[in-house]
């Protein structure tokens, strides 16, 4: 009945995104002003005219479910178009990702059966890229493949973060090593799989029966079938990025500001988002006052700029007050930067309030003392609804937790590498 359908793995916790993914799954983390990370994959599916998409959720799915809603924003409504959220079954053990990526799809085979497709895309909701999946499908068909994996050459020092393939002259995969520092090549899997549907059912059934399997595509299903089946690597030349860390998240935003050099061209990609939820449609045009300076930035509707904004990405409704300066930062919805404050190399989650005459992101780059692995690139991060009182100074690699307010700080100077938490449980006050 259907040629292709898509399954999106959207359960990622994104723990290395720190407090940005405290309240939401990684695919629901805002990106590029008005988007969320999953919008990139959803839009790719939409532009490929794949009519059915299943979105597999697990970790903190509320913002993601609200965001996907009926799928109408991506055209998934109508008699033959469907977008369905597929949470784990009730009673499922509270473990990582159902029981692994392959298990997540295995448990939803009946969803796939309903549409009787010839091909199934298994995608991730964590990545920033634009790909024409139909080119991948053409390649897959031309190779008479059972499974095709989209791949890209990555820098040698990054190979340990990926599944790495070795291919023959025909791009057939002859070896596959998951996340190893001694990988024999730098051809990395982008987590984009295209399966023949009978093959998918067969290998998932086999994997489910294998008690020793970790039920993961990269660790188990792919390596186990290299000899038994026809697995191919499709080389993707375009921009692709996993924004899994604070550093990558910030750098990727800078790349969006330099689209000609980076290839991350939000303006041309026309990524769709669900703007009804974000009330985007009620927002006024961007307002820039007579004394403002705005350059080299992406600014969403509803923002009011009375100060200076350079090299930054602003979500809807951000207010930069007179004399304030925002540089090389990412400021999310409805945040306020007070008069004469300076914000540099920072990420401010939604509804943050920075007082007057504050300075954020200055001084030495000392790694975060509590979480040096997560925060050492020099970026300071403020959680949702955090407040910084007038005149405070915040260094680099600082972490200010959501809903922190004045009484939670022990002094007016927060040195580089410090972490500030609320001293008591506190509800978010909706302004």
């Amino acid at each position: 009945m259907y040629e292709t359908i898509a399954m999106i793995l959207a359960g990622g916790q994104g723990s290395r995104l720190s407090i940005l993914s405290d309240h939401r799954a990684k695919p629901a983390v805002p990106f590029g002003g008005i988007y969320r990370i999953i919008d990139f994959t959803m839009s790719n599916v939409m532009y490929a005219k794949i009519p059915v998409v299943g979105i597999l959720t697990q970790y903190k799915p509320y913002s993601l479910m609200a965001h996907i809603s009926t799928g109408e924003a991506w055209g998934f409504t109508g008699r033959k178009h469907h977008a369905k959220i597929l949470p784990p079954y009730v009673g499922e053990a509270d473990s990582d990702w159902y029981g692994g990526t392959a298990d997540a799809i295995y448990q939803n085979l009946s969803f796939i059966d309903r549409f009787d497709p010839d091909y199934v895309f298994v995608l991730s909701g964590d990545h920033i890229y634009k790909m024409d999946y139909n080119e991948l499908l053409e390649f897959h068909v031309s190779k008479n493949a059972d499974l095709t994996i989209a791949m890209q050459e990555v820098p040698r020092e990054d190979v340990h973060r990926f599944g790495i393939a070795v291919t023959d002259g025909e791009q057939r995969i002859t070896d596959f090593i998951e996340k190893s520092k001694t990988a024999p090549s730098n051809l990395a899997s982008l987590g984009i799989y295209l399966f023949n549907r009978p093959f998918l059912e067969q290998v998932l059934n086999e994997d489910a029966a294998d008690k020793n399997s970790g039920h993961d595509f990269g660790k188990n299903v792919v390596p186990d079938n290299i000899k038994k089946a026809r697995l191919y690597a499709y080389t993707f030349k375009g921009y692709w990025q996993d924004v899994g860390t604070i550093d990558a998240y910030w750098t990727t935003h800078q790349e969006a500001l330099n689209s000609a050099a980076s290839g991350l061209d939000l303006e041309r990609w026309n990524v769709r988002t669900n703007n009804i939820l974000e009330k985007l449609t009620n927002l006024q045009p961007l307002r820039v006052t007579a004394r403002a300076h705005v350059r080299h930035s992406i600014i969403s509707p509803g923002c009011i700029i009375e100060g200076e904004v350079y090299g930054s990405v602003l979500s809807p409704g951000v207010h930069v007050k007179p004399g304030a300066k925002v540089e090389k930062s990412i400021i999310m919805n409805e945040s306020i930067i007070g008069e004469d404050s300076q914000v540099i190399y920072s990420i401010l989650d939604k509804n943050t309030v920075i007082g007057k005459n504050c300075k954020i992101g200055i001084g030495e780059s000392i790694p975060n003392k509590e979480s040096p692995n997560i925060l050492s690139c020099g970026i300071s991060v403020f959680g949702k609804y955090a407040i910084l009182p007038d005149g405070f100074v915040v260094g680099k690699n600082c972490l200010v937790y959501p809903v922190v307010e004045g009484s939670d700080y022990s002094g007016e100077v927060i040195s580089s590498g410090e972490t500030i938490r609320p001293k008591c449980k506190r509800k978010i006050k909706i302004r």
């Binding site: 009620n282 045009p285 961007l286 307002r287 006052t289």
Partner: protein, 422 residues
């Protein structure tokens, strides 16, 4: 609570807007970037909880029909919430198109009959204001009025013969009402919002129809006679209200919205537009280049600014290339201003292309006027929808380039101020 039906008059022929209203009604004119003028009336109705709305059009309704669509944008779509567009029609007994507002309302009275409300509020879709209609409705019920006219006292410099003039006694009872008389009769004018008891409206229409005494103007045919016979009161509205009588006023009102003294509080007033119109809802954020210089402006989603934009309002999808300058201008959807061009005091309709190194609206001649535009010290130049201005073209102020004109073969030409290029 009384049941109220609203009829929005959104379709008269408009003068004073030059080519901007050649292919659309004034209510459908883009305003403040990504809105249209009718969004104010529709948002006010929706925010007031008035959920039965008929939009009466007589003139070029296509862009309005597209804009209003199913009414979802204003939450006027649901089991007890409807918005219905009433375009002109001909049929048995009606062999000619609507002849003015009276006829247009009369022929659509079925909408009122079917819904059978207590009151009918008839208002214009062409004005910029914010009103909770529950206030005048409450007044209307307290006075047990057959008709309540919403009015405003204006300073003498704003009075003109285009208004209806009111006088009221200390109980707010209307003692005089004349629409568009030959002389100014008072400083208390009707702002085009009329609340009728349903029966008073229907009876008056039937009476006038039997007497076959329709002129063409609903206010003259129906409102004026009622004021002479029935219980009519005037409700004074003290808030901001703007009539946008011509393109100069449209421009000035738009420009006031840029400044710190902006009287049109879009966010506070909860003015919403249809995100489906011209793909507003799927536009990107604003991209600003390294050489961008933006000051004192409103910029809609989907714009890309590489050059200078000063004291201007840009609708969605406008591109200002590096080295181009846009000053004191209103640029509508998806227009492009290429490198090295300089435009000032221009209203550019949708999809206009200005090629490189043009100069538009800069050169002025005080003694000039344009027979197709209202007199104006502003010297505005209007570029029609889809016009293409070729490279190195110079067009003086107070000029018009007609919609669809392709001037690429006129590269290097200098058009003096005050011309109409057709």
């Amino acid at each position: 609570m009384a049941k109220v039906v609203a009829l929005v008059l959104a379709g008269g022929n408009v003068e004073g807007y030059g080519i901007l209203t050649r292919n659309r009604t004034k209510a459908a004119l883009p305003f403040a970037g990504h809105y249209r003028i009718i969004d104010f009336a529709l948002s006010n109705l929706s925010n007031s909880g008035i959920t039965y709305v008929g939009v009466i059009t007589q003139y070029l309704p296509a862009s309005l029909i597209e804009h209003i669509a199913g009414g979802e944008a204003w939450d006027l779509h649901g089991s007890d919430r409807i918005i219905k567009i009433m375009p002109p029609f001909v049929g048995i007994g009606h062999t000619i198109w609507f002849q003015g507002t009276s006829d247009a309302v009369y022929r659509n009275l079925n909408f009122v009959h079917d819904l059978n409300p207590d009151d009918v509020i008839i208002l214009s879709g062409e004005h910029i204001y914010h009103m909770d209609y529950n206030e005048p409705l409450k007044f209307h019920h307290e006075k047990d009025a057959d008709l309540t006219i919403v009015g405003q006292r204006l300073p003498s410099e704003r009075l003109s013969l285009r208004f209806g003039f009111l006088e009221a006694d200390k109980d707010n009872r209307v003692t005089m009402f004349r629409e568009k008389p030959p002389e100014i009769l008072s400083n208390f004018i009707s702002i085009g919002i009329y609340i009728f008891k349903k029966d008073a409206l229907i009876n008056e229409f039937n009476r006038r129809f039997q007497e076959a005494r329709f002129t063409q103007n609903f206010v003259i045919d129906v409102v004026e006679p009622i004021t002479q016979r029935l219980n009519v009161f005037a409700y004074e509205f003290g808030g901001f209200w703007e009539y946008l009588e011509n393109v100069n006023k449209y421009y000035q009102t738009t420009m006031r919205m840029i400044g710190e003294e902006n009287p049109v509080k879009l966010a506070d007033w909860e003015i919403v537009t249809n995100p489906e119109d011209r793909r507003l809802g799927t536009r990107n954020p604003v991209f600003t280049g390294r050489g961008a210089n933006i000051k004192d402006s409103l910029i809609s989603p989907g714009c890309r600014i590489e050059g200078t934009v000063s004291h201007s309002v840009l609708s969605p999808g406008v591109i200002v290339e590096e080295g181009a300058t846009v000053m004191d201008s209103i640029i509508m959807h998806d227009s492009i201003i290429r490198k090295g061009s300089f435009i000032q005091k221009v209203i550019s309709d949708k999809n206009v292309t200005i090629e490189q190194n043009c100069s538009i609206g800069v050169e002025m001649r005080k003694d000039k006027n344009n027979p197709e535009l209202p007199d104006s010290p502003l010297g505005l130049t209007i570029l029609g929808k889809g016009a293409v201005i070729g490279e190195d073209i110079k067009i003086g102020g107070l000029s018009q380039v007609y919609p669809g004109m392709d001037l690429r073969s006129y590269s290097g030409t200098h058009f003096a101020p005050g011309v109409n290029i057709k």
